[in-house]
């Protein structure tokens, strides 16, 4: 004896999304995700997101906040321990550079040209490249 699947009446269905496309839970599927450049080089992890300003007291349902940038650097410390770094200490990747979202975030620019990779470049040029063999592939 097989049960027929119950067909929901239209008024039981949830309201359709107001925006077309895939819906992503930013906290679950963006925060703390690995970011790659087009050559599969790790760039950073999404430490935080910078959103457009909204009036928190009177949120406007027709103008939800938009994501401006992926953030990294000192914002990680303040996300864990509280507080907020000064604007000048924000390390950003423009949201326009985000090409794809899978289990990781894919960018359409190489890590080399991004400001956010400065610390990697600093350690490469000042430390690692100066040790003999640092620029050679492992054998």
């Amino acid at each position: 004896m097989s049960r027929r699947p119950r067909i929901r009446r239209p008024d039981e269905l949830a309201a359709p999304p107001r925006f077309a496309g895939r819906i992503v839970d930013a906290e679950l599927e963006l925060l703390d995700r690995q970011v790659f450049d087009p050559d599969s080089v790790q760039v950073t992890t999404v430490d935080d997101l910078e959103l457009t300003d909204v009036d928190a007291a009177h949120p406007d349902p027709d103008a939800p906040p938009e994501i401006l940038c992926l953030l990294s650097g000192p914002v990680f410390g303040t996300r864990v321990f509280g507080g907020r770094p000064p604007e000048s200490r924000f390390e950003r990747v423009d949201w326009a550079h985000v090409a794809r979202l899978t289990t990781a975030v894919a960018l359409d620019v190489t890590a080399e040209v991004l400001d956010i990779s400065w610390l990697e470049r600093w350690f490469r040029d000042r430390v690692i490249a100066r040790i003999p063999g640092g620029r050679h592939d492992p054998e």
Binding site: D32, Q34, V35, Q42, V46, D47, F76, R121, R124, D137
Partner: protein, 410 residues
């Protein structure tokens, strides 16, 4: 033919790479103090590491995400940072123990003081991590580690009283021991921690990405793990048995690496001793490489830095800086004059404390179809996985109180 030799190589390196300083020391200590009454822990621990190593390898091959990326994605920034701090510190403790183990093994071979060998050992580990390709590094130390088979051979050369050994296996304590139950359970947890050390999972999952595993490589990895690790576990058990046959009746409780090798020396003479020491050097050196890499893997994966041995060091700069600093820190601790064997004993117990931090996120993600598609865990795997998770949590909670009550097993 090529495929068969690849499988054989994988299995052999899994066997030879299974044993590290934690297993060498803890197995010998346990055998010399408790006979074979704790061998069941090694059996359970080996099943556990097979299960979770394979699971983390499957997650890495299918989703392309290594273990610490997953830990951060699943636990969130705060909890993951606490996890990273604990895992990284325990990893450093393990690294200290392994580098010390290399120095002690080289002392056995040369009679030169371990303090002189420690800088050499740390430098050699760095040089290999810096220059040598991942596959060579993994295979050479794994194959040399097979020298530890000499412990299994020694059992037969010692002509033991098999009946008496059998009754110890069935938890009949040997007449010579007078250990309290709390000490027994303390060492049970130490042995469990030694078998399931978290770095093995970090290394295994990151290694899957280093070697660009795809889902089609999973059969090979399954064979490596489910054949290689149990045989590696048998090597650990052989060390326990050797200590139980030779050291226990004489009342020698193992406190140094030298005593671990004594039964082999008695059974197989100088040749046996040379092979055993070769095995010690290979096992500790191989493990030191894995732990050094793991310290880089954990931090780089957590913060999203470029990492990997498949790149030149300059293409993964911070990853290499972390490994250099970790080796310097381990060397610094060793040069204060601490006893590497004691560091080892602490490192395996703290590993047991940290186990749930690593294994819970793996189990969660292995069930998440957004990462795994159709290759999520089957019901049987989840059933066994949950049983192990319960065991791991119990061991983790009990470890520190038992350590205090027993005075660290003294």
């Amino acid at each position: 033919m090529k495929a068969i030799s690849a499988v054989a190589l994988g299995v052999l390196t899994a066997i030879g790479g299974f044993v590290d300083i934690g297993d060498l020391v803890t197995s010998a200590v346990v055998g010399s103090r408790f006979g074979l009454t704790l061998v069941w822990v090694l059996v359970i621990g080996t099943i556990g590491i097979c299960l979770f190593a394979q699971m983390s390898g499957r997650v890495a091959a299918v989703s392309g995400r290594a273990t610490f990326e997953i830990i951060r994605e699943r636990l969130g920034a705060r909890l993951a940072l606490a996890n990273l701090s604990a895992s990284f510190l325990i990893n450093l403790l393990t690294l200290t123990a392994e580098v010390g183990g290399i120095a002690l093994s080289l002392q056995l071979a040369t009679s030169i003081s371990p303090v002189l060998w420690m800088p050499v050992a740390a430098f050699a580990v760095w040089l290999v991590v810096w220059r040598v390709k991942f596959s060579i590094l993994e295979n050479v130390t794994g194959l040399l580690g097979l020298a530890l088979v000499v412990f299994a051979v020694a059992i037969f050369l010692l002509h033991p009283d098999w009946l008496q050994l059998g009754s110890q296996l069935l938890l009949q304590p040997p007449a010579q021991t007078s250990e309290s139950p709390t000490t027994y359970w303390y060492f049970a947890i130490a042995l469990f921690g030694a078998a399931m050390t978290p770095y093995e999972v970090f290394f295994f999952s990151s290694g899957a990405i280093e070697e660009h595993w795809k889902p089609k490589d999973l059969t090979q990895s399954r064979v490596n793990v489910f054949v290689g690790f149990p045989i590696g576990g048998l090597l650990s058990i052989s060390i326990v048995v050797c200590a139980a046959i030779v050291l226990l009746p004489k009342g020698i409780a193992v406190t140094s690496l030298y005593q671990t090798a004594l039964p082999v020396a008695q059974a197989a003479g100088t040749i046996g001793l040379i092979i055993a020491i070769l095995g010690f050097v290979a096992a500790t050196f191989g493990a030191a490489l894995e732990v050094t890499l793991s310290s880089g893997y954990t931090l780089a994966q957590f913060f999203g830095w470029s990492w990997g041995k498949y790149r030149a060091p300059s293409q993964a700069a911070r990853f290499h800086v972390v490994m250099i600093l970790s080796l310097v820190a381990a060397l610094g601790v060793l040069l204060t004059g601490v006893d590497p064997v004691q560091v080892t004993e602490f490192s395996v117990v703290f590993s047991a404390v940290a186990l749930p931090l690593t294994y819970l996120p793996i189990l969660i993600v292995a069930n998440d179809p957004r990462y795994m598609g159709k290759r999520v865990n089957g019901r049987a795997t989840n059933f066994v996985g949950l049983i192990f998770l319960a065991l791991i949590v119990v061991a983790s909670i009990a470890a520190i109180p038992l350590m205090i009550v027993t005075g660290a097993g003294s």
